[in-house]
Symmetry: C2
Subunit: 364 residues, 2 copies
């Protein structure tokens, strides 16, 4: 309840006086506060894109406010400074200090990173955050990125996504055969094995591909982001649930040397801001999806449908095979995957009697 | 309530003067950083209690680190400085600068505050955070607390709770009649109208009351907190879901004058830390509940059971009546409740096709 003590005040005064004469002798906090940093943050998202792109913008603004401008971060949309999928390399090399992306974009060079974003039929956002922050996941995440001189911070999550927009009805597993769908990563591989043709397209090309019939279907995110792309004007059926991405976690990555250059208080602010943005982005999606879905539900030209049970059962079986093979082929994926699935077993038993049981009685 | 004393002001003035000679070495923020604050935070929880009590401890540690010690917060367990349920008054009066509590404890003096914690059959944590941060809820929260000189910050959530521990089987609505259960607030009123006898007991007295048969049942939180109280040693049946508290939000409250005394960068740190702790506590509960449930599931002396559908249906009908009456009796509850339920309608439509549909296909 005391605000400021005499000795503290005096020490600060002495420190500041010394500062004028001997910058190197500035008292700890005075010296730290005199040093300023200007960082660049490259991202994999269109500039200021709802949710995904707003997250790093909020991060930058809040870090600047909390440090009184001692750490300023300029955020770049995908392609403005480096291409969307080269965020990892640019930060690893130290071309820029910071990036905001999704770990599964590093597939190919670092397959095991996918476990930190999303696995088909895997963890929801709250399960993933339990694993990362309290269940040992973050240690594995840091260990995996360490050889690349990167320090990862979980930063944001879209929540459970939608299954996607379709111009063909999916009434049975036969309807997956020949289906040409924009669906990247592990989900795409699952579709391929189910008889479909997965396609990878950047977000900006999805609408036209769907509208012209170049693809039959696409998944993107959920109502909030999908409506902003106008996907409801290019397809008739909106399927759920998003089995392929049940709660993808996003990441801030910081170049190791840049991180080490920050005084401890600025490191603490960055760490706080990343975790605050995790909560904030979840809230933005929760609200944005609810609002956008309410609008879509009034649109007579579309139908919102649940995937048939047998389709989901098949996709789930195949997803298990795909992830099992990934773990068999790659030692890092095996190590992280084993920890992931051991955690998921406990977490899903809990989700079943909490979220699932509650929503079942409330909403059906 | 003033924080800055004469010597502090003098030191800052000296600092600024010194800086004027060497602007390159001591930026504007050097003056701000010389000022320090020591706050007390009273809470409604046992000291360092898992989840609930760890949240404010984390808040204090992370604020201190992020401000290089310029804002130090000492956290007190319930009863250490003020009784658990007098947090609101103590912070409102300015006896202390900060508190961590749950808004529904202010029932009686401020019934409408309950909407910011939990409503039976109401919002989950992600829906509540969507409403608070992006759906207009936080503005209503601030407006409600303004006459009490309090600034509220959502800080933590336990997630969906459990229905509670019972020494009587609940097979039908008749089994609620005469049931003596520790269940406070709106949930207690719902039980009373269903024929039961709700009892209010502080956490520390629950175990003995249950073990001696003074009560037939109790709700507390969920596996993580319940196991730490040993409730599984005092009752046989563990029922779900926690219809009475489907995602109770917790709060940090700051005395208005204390808040206004902080420079903007420290205000920004406190705001960041509260939102970061929201994410962190959710992760702690997600992990703690999963781990504790796995242990409880191996205990042959207990049975984990779902409430029968007709019991849940009755409780839901009564909950609706109870909340409707609350809104009819109190203008502030009417205003906030209308916003709450309008939001819930949209949010639950979204949860149904995302979380619910996904968990249904994954876990059943």
């Amino acid at each position: 309840m005391k605000r400021r003590e005499f000795v503290g005040g005096l020490a600060a005064a002495v420190g500041v006086t010394a500062c004028a004469q001997e910058p190197a002798d500035c008292g700890d906090s005075a010296a730290a506060s005199a040093e300023t940093f200007e960082w660049s943050c490259v991202t994999s998202w269109p500039p200021k894109f709802p949710g995904l792109g707003i997250g790093p913008e909020n991060l930058a603004q809040r870090v600047e406010a909390a440090t009184a401008g001692r750490l300023r971060i300029k955020v770049y949309g995908g392609g403005e400074l480096v291409p969307p999928f080269e965020v990892f390399d640019a930060v690893s090399r130290g071309t820029v200090e910071m990036g905001h992306s999704a770990a599964y974009y590093h597939k190919g060079k670092l397959d095991a990173a996918q476990f930190f974003t999303a696995i088909p039929f895997g963890m929801t956002s709250s399960e993933l955050e339990g694993w990362l922050y309290y269940g040992g996941g973050l240690e594995l995440y840091r260990e995996l990125y360490e050889p690349f001189d990167l320090v990862p911070f979980p930063t944001g999550n879209t929540g459970v996504q939608m299954g996607g927009w379709f111009n063909k009805e999916i009434n049975s597993i036969d309807d997956l055969k020949g289906l040409k769908m924009r669906i990247p990563g592990l989900g795409g591989e699952v579709l391929r094995r189910a008889g479909g043709t997965p396609v990878t397209l950047p977000g900006a090309e999805i609408f036209t591909a769907l509208q012209t019939g170049a693809i039959d279907a696409t998944e993107w995110v959920g109502p909030y982001n999908d409506a902003s792309f106008g996907l409801h004007k290019a397809a008739k059926y909106y399927y759920y649930p998003g089995w392929q991405e049940p709660g993808p976690g996003l990441e801030t990555i910081v170049n190791r040397a840049a991180w080490d250059s920050l005084p401890p208080d600025l490191q603490a602010v960055v760490s706080l801001a990343c975790q605050a943005v995790t909560s904030d982005m979840a809230a933005e999606y929760s609200n944005g999806n609810a609002e956008s879905l309410a609008q879509l539900a009034r649109d007579d030209s579309i139908e919102i449908r649940e995937f048939p049970d047998d389709v989901l059962a098949l996709l789930r079986t195949i997803a298990h095979e795909v992830v099992t093979e990934l773990m068999a082929d790659d030692a890092r994926s095996a190590k992280i995957g084993e920890a992931y699935f051991a955690y998921l077993e406990k977490a899903s038993a809990n989700s079943k009697i909490t979220e699932l049981a509650y929503l079942k009685t409330r909403d059906t």
